[in-house]
């Protein structure tokens, strides 16, 4: 059964990939014009070494991320990224229903960008592995500059295929497929103002939940007044997101960035995010960045913190990420550029530290670890998290 499913998924993926290749082929045919033309620019050659850390809600995830990018013959830019998450989790989900665990997820990705005249074509491959989850993603992108290089239009498509397993049940194995379609329009409006409009649709199919998570339902037979059972999600999810962002160069050397994003999906979730960022270089080699971000989402249709009885609805979830909640982030970042010639093999090098403080405030996900409350009357859960990004960048 699983083999047939896998084969169907592979055929579907093959068809989708062929379709996309067809489209790209048509693009190439139309764009292969005589003589060298004005061109867009490839990303810079650089090496970045990042230490990342997320600490909050009983979860600590940290690890490295190394990104290396190199230009070949001024027409191709290739990159490789190695990323690790080392998870140590005693989160509320874990505290309520299981025991603390630690685990490691490693992700490797590689890609290339091909520059031809005013077009950049991109290809990427990502593979992520942990002992109960394997994910592979292939991405295609194409971007075109025109109207005096003031406008850039980009199209993106990615195909992901995941294998979900369970450490608690070795016989469990299922698949999840993801397809993403995106369109991006960047426009230079004035000498000091640039804006971007992005839209993206994600289509998920397969096993979209978590084999370890449970929902709770009222159970008079249970000592605490409720019991747990496995969650049950729909096997499809379609979502649409649209974002608009703008960067403005202030009358002195500093920039202001505003972003607004709206989201909705077939699970009934609607979300909005707004972000304001201020970047201020000072004292020749320093840079300061301040950020405020607000995020608000409504719950999924099949979400409930406490169901009335066992198997009360066709689909049921108690994942706090599908509940109704808001997050607020306050961030500060500092960068320092080393003087030219500090490291002879690099043209430029910087050291950077970003600290984001996130506040998660759940409206209808309750903290069951608080004792002395009737089921469904526990206080709403909230927690703070600190996100650290510490990295060194080298340009060569």
């Amino acid at each position: 059964m699983a083999a047939i499913k896998a084969r169907v998924a592979a055929i579907k993926a093959g068809v989708a990939v062929t379709n996309v290749l067809e489209k790209i082929g048509r693009w190439l045919a139309l764009l292969s014009l005589p003589a060298t033309l004005q061109a867009a620019v490839l990303p810079e050659d650089r090496v970045d070494i990042l230490y990342h850390s997320f600490d909050g809600g009983g979860v600590t995830i940290d690890g490295p991320s190394v990104l290396v990018r190199k230009n070949i013959a001024n027409t191709v830019s290739v990159y490789g990224n190695y990323y690790v998450d080392m998870v140590s989790s005693a989160s509320i989900d874990v505290e309520a229903t299981a025991s603390p665990y630690s685990e490691e997820r490693a992700e490797v990705s590689a890609g290339l960008d091909y520059l031809h005249d005013k077009t950049i074509m991109s290809l990427s491959y990502t593979r992520s592995e942990e002992d109960d989850y394997e994910a592979q993603t292939v991405g295609f992108g194409i971007s075109q500059d025109f109207f005096g290089d003031l406008t850039t239009v980009g199209l993106g498509f990615s195909l992901g295929s995941d294998t979900v397993k369970s450490n608690a049940d070795s016989s469990f194995e299922d698949q999840a497929d993801h397809r993403r379609y995106s369109l991006s329009l960047t426009q230079i409006l004035t000498e000091n103002l640039i804006a971007n409009l992005s839209v993206e649709t994600v289509v998920d199919e397969g096993y979209l939940n978590n084999p370890y998570r449970s929902v709770r339902y009222l159970d008079s037979n249970s000592g605490v007044g409720y019991s747990y059972e496995k969650e049950l999600y729909p096997r499809t999810r379609n979502s649409d997101a649209a974002a608009i962002r703008a960067l403005y160069y202030l009358p002195y050397r500093a920039s202001l960035r505003a972003e607004f994003r709206t989201f909705s999906d077939s699970w009934g979730i609607s979300a909005d995010a707004a972000e304001l960022r201020y970047t201020h270089p000072f004292a020749e080699r320093w840079m300061l960045e301040l950020k405020y971000r607000f995020y608000d989402q409504t719950q999924a249709d099949f979400y409930s913190d406490l169901f009335a009885f066992s198997e009360a609805t066709n689909f049921r979830a108690r994942d706090k990420e599908l509940s109704s909640f808001t997050t607020q982030t306050l961030g500060i970042g500092v960068s320092y550029e080393f003087r030219a010639g500090f490291l002879s093999m690099f043209d430029k090098s910087t050291v950077n530290l970003y600290w984001d403080h996130m506040q998660f405030d759940y409206d209808n996900f309750r903290d069951v670890t608080q004792s002395g409350f009737a089921p469904g009357e526990e206080p709403s859960y909230r927690f703070d998290a600190d996100v650290i990004r510490f990295f060194l960048s080298f340009w060569y």
């Binding site: 489209k23 764009l31 014009l33 003589a35 061109a39 025109f146």
Partner: protein
């Protein structure tokens, strides 16, 4: 969804292909080279017409432009090599504020004169529509060749064209 996406991508492709107005990177041009006078890095004002009888390469550049920085040492080599045969490079910096340009020249020094077009008058005069832009003017003061942008290898084309113009 699949057919819809196909249709939309195809229509977008067709529409975009209609929009591509494509100037070529290297062209031959004609007509008298518009005259101008700009302050130079030597402190003196330099005028294009004063170089009548010499082959002039006018290069429009900026410190914030990567390919421009790449090109500068190549132009310097050209200038040193053919100066005695009657060739000069005019490095026209297009920035409103010359401080960044001067900082860059300290790191990448050049022997040819650098002129400051702080009010963008000469850039407009020459219809500069790419960075960098290189214009070759012959001994009679006429426009001959135009290059938009810079990619490694262009300096060989420049050399060919400079040699042709010097021999005239």
């Amino acid at each position: 969804m699949n057919t819809r996406l196909r249709l939309s991508t195809l229509s977008l492709t067709l529409l975009l292909s209609l929009c591509l107005s494509l100037p070529v990177a290297a062209t031959t041009i004609s007509g008298p080279a518009p005259d101008f006078t700009l302050k130079s890095n030597s402190g003196k004002n330099l005028r294009l017409a004063d170089l009548r009888g010499e082959v002039v390469m006018i290069n429009f550049w900026a410190s914030w432009c990567g390919p421009c920085r790449q090109e500068m040492p190549e132009l310097n080599k050209l200038h040193k090599r053919y100066k005695r045969a009657g060739f000069t490079v005019f490095g026209v910096n297009v920035e409103n504020d010359s401080s960044e340009a001067n900082q860059m020249l300290e790191k990448i020094p050049v022997d040819f004169p650098v002129l400051y077009d702080t009010r963008s008058e000469v850039s407009k005069l020459y219809n500069v529509d790419a960075m960098p832009t290189t214009v070759l003017v012959d001994r009679d003061g006429n426009l001959r060749y135009l290059h938009r942008g810079y990619k490694p290898g262009y300096e060989d084309i420049y050399r060919q064209q400079v040699k042709t113009l010097i021999r005239e």
